[in-house]
């Protein structure tokens, strides 16, 4: 019974959290956004004391039920393991705790967090690791499915579905997600919850608490016939039958073992006062693989943007019809990266963001993508080649579970300066093509762009933009809609600390 309840709730949690990463329309987040916000590490980073306390109390009372129900990566591993074990009912065996590894990973993790390298530390954080997998691997499939429906909807003259663009936001992040998926997938396929009990820093922390949990799995030594059925069913490999002991720091309270026992020797019950010393076991298995691929991957990003295009040729006799080629926009080199409004400052972002990609998943304007620079690796950064930070949208601030992007409303958003526009004279269309333009000024939501004569002595000369940086909020409308291609004649430089105007 307990096992069934756990399975149902866990499955619901898993599906909805996954959908948070898939639903690009942002409708689900209004209802279930809290499911991301009760994740342990995000709650800690958001200084969400209530949630953290609640999770600690939950673990102290019930054991690591968090790992079995709330954590999407945990449930993901259960699903993989279930597929992996196939018809085999009893695939696992007990193994000793690898405490040295566990605690050293935790120490390194905490050190990185303290040192501000949250995004590197987040490589092993469970929720954000799952987020990256969902966003990079599952979301494209979901979106293609949607686009197929949109294709049919269009032909049926229905507006129920609309097409969305599937694009590779960052190759290094994609590779990290793929690698995480493979490593954790293989581990889960073969041995169940290996990751949770060796690497996962949240698992380790909760394990310390669950050691002393009020309710837990207990083996009745009297009744136990040492048949090993429960241990062979334990995906956490934490039931030590020869000693009739359960390693409660590793037990994820999945209840799978309970119904295995033919002799009523194993129970989930209140067991205060009785304590088992977990035998510590030194190991020296290097588990730190794959972290350095980061560097190699980031180089590849540079190559993806460039695309050769024929130079626009002025035709002597204009013929009717046809469409002019449009050269893809390229991202300018920004001295200071842009972080989304609500993130307050580059430092706040860097310290709080676990790079779960939830904001990247919901950004409807194709502005946010994972950063490829080392110090903010995989954390969101804004760029305006594909769209701009539209005035009516505050989606990223609504979904962020870690306090890296604080909740803001539309009015606040239009007053937060996340950067300022910079004009590049050499590319400006009135000067290069001798055509009237002003598309930047027309689309500036704060009226920060004035059009001034290009020739100071001739008020009738073609107008060029002048930016009032005091009014500019850095939304990128000007950069995105600038007709100069591939590089815009006006672009946004980020601000390290956001300001209110």
């Amino acid at each position: 019974m307990l096992q069934k309840i756990r399975q149902v709730i866990a499955f619901l949690f898993f599906c909805i959290v996954t959908l948070l990463f898939l639903d690009f329309t942002g409708t689900l987040h209004a209802w279930f956004g809290w499911m991301a916000k009760i994740q342990f590490l995000p709650a800690v980073l958001a200084l969400n004391v209530g949630v953290v306390l609640l999770l600690i109390v939950l673990t102290f009372v019930c054991g690591r039920i968090y790992c079995s129900v709330i954590c999407p990566l945990g449930v993901f591993q259960d699903i993989v393991a279930r597929i992996g074990r196939g018809k085999k009912k009893l695939p696992y065996t007990y193994s000793k705790a690898k405490n040295v590894l566990r605690y050293s990973v935790l120490v390194v993790f905490l050190a990185l967090m303290a040192g501000g390298l949250t995004s590197i530390a987040a490589l092993v954080a469970p929720y954000s690791a799952y987020g990256r997998i969902a966003n990079n691997l599952f979301a494209p499939v979901y979106q293609w499915g949607n686009n197929l429906l949109a294709y049919f909807a269009e032909r049926a003259d229905s507006y129920a579905f609309y097409e969305t663009e599937v694009w590779l936001k960052s190759l290094p992040t994609f590779l990290i997600a793929l690698l995480t998926f493979i490593i954790i997938g293989v581990l889960a396929w073969r041995n169940g919850r290996t990751y949770c009990n060796t690497i996962c820093p949240v698992g380790t922390v909760l394990g310390v608490i669950s050691k002393f949990s009020l309710f837990r799995i207990e083996i009745d030594k009297e009744k136990c016939r040492k048949c090993n059925l429960c241990a062979r069913r334990c995906k956490a490999a934490c039931i030590d039958i020869p000693n009739a002991a359960v390693d409660h720091s590793r037990c994820v309270t999945c209840f799978d073992c309970l119904k295995q026992c033919k002799h009523d020797a194993i129970h989930y019950r209140f067991a205060y006062g009785k304590k088992e010393a977990a035998p510590s076991q030194p190991t020296s298995q290097p588990k730190d693989k794959g972290r350095r691929e980061v560097l190699a991957g980031s180089l590849l990003l540079l190559a993806s943007a460039a695309k050769a295009q024929a130079v626009k040729k002025a035709e002597i006799v204009k013929l009717d019809g046809g469409l002019a080629d449009i050269i893809d926009k390229q991202a300018p080199k920004r001295q200071t990266p842009i972080t989304p409004p609500g993130s307050q400052s580059a430092r706040n972002m860097q310290q709080h963001c676990t790079a779960c990609q939830l904001c990247v998943s919901v950004c409807p304007n194709e502005v946010l993508r994972p950063s490829s620079s080392l110090d903010t690796f995989m954390q969101p950064t804004a760029s305006y080649e594909r769209g701009y930070c539209r005035p009516e949208c505050t989606k990223c601030s609504e979904v962020c579970p870690t306090g890296a992007i604080h909740l803001i409303d539309k009015a606040e958003k239009s007053a937060i300066q996340i950067g300022h526009a910079v004009w590049v004279k050499e590319r400006c269309i009135p000067l290069t093509d001798e055509q009237a333009c002003g598309n930047c000024a027309r689309h500036c939501p704060t009226g920060a762009i004035l059009m001034i004569p290009s020739d100071p002595s001739d008020p009738e000369s073609l107008k060029i933009p002048a930016i009032d940086t005091e009014k500019c909020i850095g939304c990128g409308a000007c950069e995105n809609l600038c007709p100069a291609r591939p590089l815009s004649a006006i672009y946004v430089e980020g601000h390290e600390v956001h300001r209110i105007i």
């Binding site: 507006y159 009717d320 019809g321 469409l323 269309i429 055509q435 009237a436 027309r442």
Partner: protein, 458 residues
């Protein structure tokens, strides 16, 4: 009903032409609900009943339905030589048209990215030259000097694979300045040259097509005394009869003035590029109630064909269904009664309440150097106007649905990078628009409306 239409269509079609699978596929494409003209399912497409017009001293018996070669079906990607037109389909359409009595084909050097003359020439070459009349034009808009213009004239003959042109037009007169009649034809001596070509028999009839102001019209018409215009091509339909858009002149005036001089007229834009078949629902109901068997478009064609001084009515038929529907309407033409004409003029008044933009999708403005799909944007806008998907306020009862339809439909009709928000207002398109639409202004107006929908600030 609709389904049955399509089936009948195809069956007729198979019976008459007896064609390949390619044909079937094309007919199916043509059946897309947006594009196909409705057809009356009952009667098959008649052969040998086409109405013909003749204006002595010319001996030409011209079919009242003329084929406009400005809207040929195009390929998804240009073929090897660069031709963007679906030649196979053009061959089929022209064969079918000729078989059903159409004998007037109107093209121009600038149509369909410059490929219309070539493709039309290829298709017509497969028929005896005396079976059809070719009309083409002097489109010297950019290079107005004598040499370049004459080159264009010879080029047309070469592309059309002919050594004479039946109907030659001074293309789209009515502009002022650099593109004026004066500059394009008088100052450079080109008109004298063309008159000589007529004397030599290489041009059988000389005329001009017109979009513009009354002053220019009167001035050019006055040249009749010296030049003797053999025909004039004007925009005439039941909407433009009394309500021409922009700087254009009402068709009733044009028709009256030309008739006074006894010059036959070729009619263009009888359907306003489809705007008179894509009409609001209750207009459809109004026309259908009057005559349930006939298509909405057939009313417009009967209106354009009824005036006695009309030589032929041009229709840019992209799809077989359009061609078939028009052949039905004109085989033979049943002229409108006075009462029916008034009924259509009243209909035009009703349609004025729908503030569509008078774009006929002629593509003269294209390509926009900054990549915008101008007709695409305007057509989407008009569609939403006609279908009532233009909420004026958040409080409108259908606001949410109409907003969604407008915005999603916009992205479907026009790729984001080709939408109105990218219009920089350079105005290079404006001189090309025969309807005198201030395109950048409309682009910016539509863009602002889209912004209001997106930001929900209506």
């Amino acid at each position: 009903m609709n389904k049955q239409d399509n089936r009948m269509n195809r069956r007729d079609f198979l019976k008459i032409v007896g064609i390949s699978t390619a044909g079937t596929a094309a007919a199916l494409t043509g059946c897309s609900p947006k594009e196909s003209a409705e057809t009356s399912a009952q009667n098959p497409v008649p052969t040998g009943k086409m109405t013909y017009r003749n204006f002595p001293p010319s001996k030409d018996q011209v079919s009242i339905l003329g084929y406009g070669c400005m809207r040929w079906p195009t390929l998804p990607a240009p073929e090897k030589g660069g031709n963007v037109i679906d030649q196979e389909e053009v061959n089929r359409l022209i064969d079918y048209a000729i078989e059903h009595g159409v004998n007037y084909f109107d093209t121009a050097p600038v149509y369909v990215q410059g490929w219309s003359e070539t493709s039309t020439g290829i298709a017509l070459k497969r028929h005896p030259r005396e079976k059809y009349f070719i009309a083409t034009k002097m489109s010297n808009f950019d290079l107005t000097d004598f040499k370049s213009s004459v080159e264009m004239y010879h080029d047309s003959m070469k592309k059309l694979q002919t050594d004479y042109i039946d109907y030659y037009l001074l293309h789209s007169l009515g502009n002022t300045g650099k593109r004026s009649f004066q500059n394009r034809f008088i100052d450079n001596g080109l008109l004298d040259y063309l008159v000589k070509e007529r004397e030599a028999g290489r041009i059988r009839h000389l005329g001009w097509s017109f979009h513009g102001s009354k002053e220019e019209f009167d001035k050019i018409l006055a040249y009749h005394e010296q030049v003797h215009w053999d025909f004039i091509q004007i925009q005439l339909n039941y909407s433009d009869w009394k309500h021409a858009s922009g700087r254009n002149v009402n068709a009733d005036y044009l028709y009256a003035e030309i008739s006074k001089r006894n010059i036959p007229m070729v009619i263009m834009e009888p359907l306003q590029g489809g705007r008179l078949s894509k009409v609001p629902e209750h207009i459809v109901a109004r026309l259908k109630t009057r005559n349930p068997e006939n298509s909405v478009a057939s009313w417009a064609f009967r209106f354009a064909g009824t005036p006695p001084m009309v030589l032929t009515v041009l229709s840019g038929m992209t799809y077989m269904e359009h061609l078939q529907d028009n052949i039905r309407t004109y085989s033979p033409l049943v002229p409108l009664t006075q009462e029916e004409q008034q009924f259509l003029l009243d209909t035009a008044e009703l349609m004025l309440k729908y503030p569509t933009i008078p774009c006929n999708n002629c593509q003269y403005c294209m390509p926009c150097p900054y990549g915008i799909d101008i007709p695409g944007v305007l057509l989407h806008y008009n569609k939403c106007v006609n279908e009532g998907n233009m909420p004026q306020s958040k409080l409108d009862p259908n606001y949410a649905e109409a907003r969604r339809t407008f915005l999603i439909g916009y992205d479907r009709s026009v790729p984001k990078l080709r939408q109105a928000s990218h219009c920089i207002g350079c105005e290079q398109c404006n001189p090309h628009c025969p309807q005198y639409i201030d395109i950048p202004r409309e682009m910016q107006r539509i863009d602002q409306y889209v912004e209001k929908l997106k930001q929900e600030t209506l």
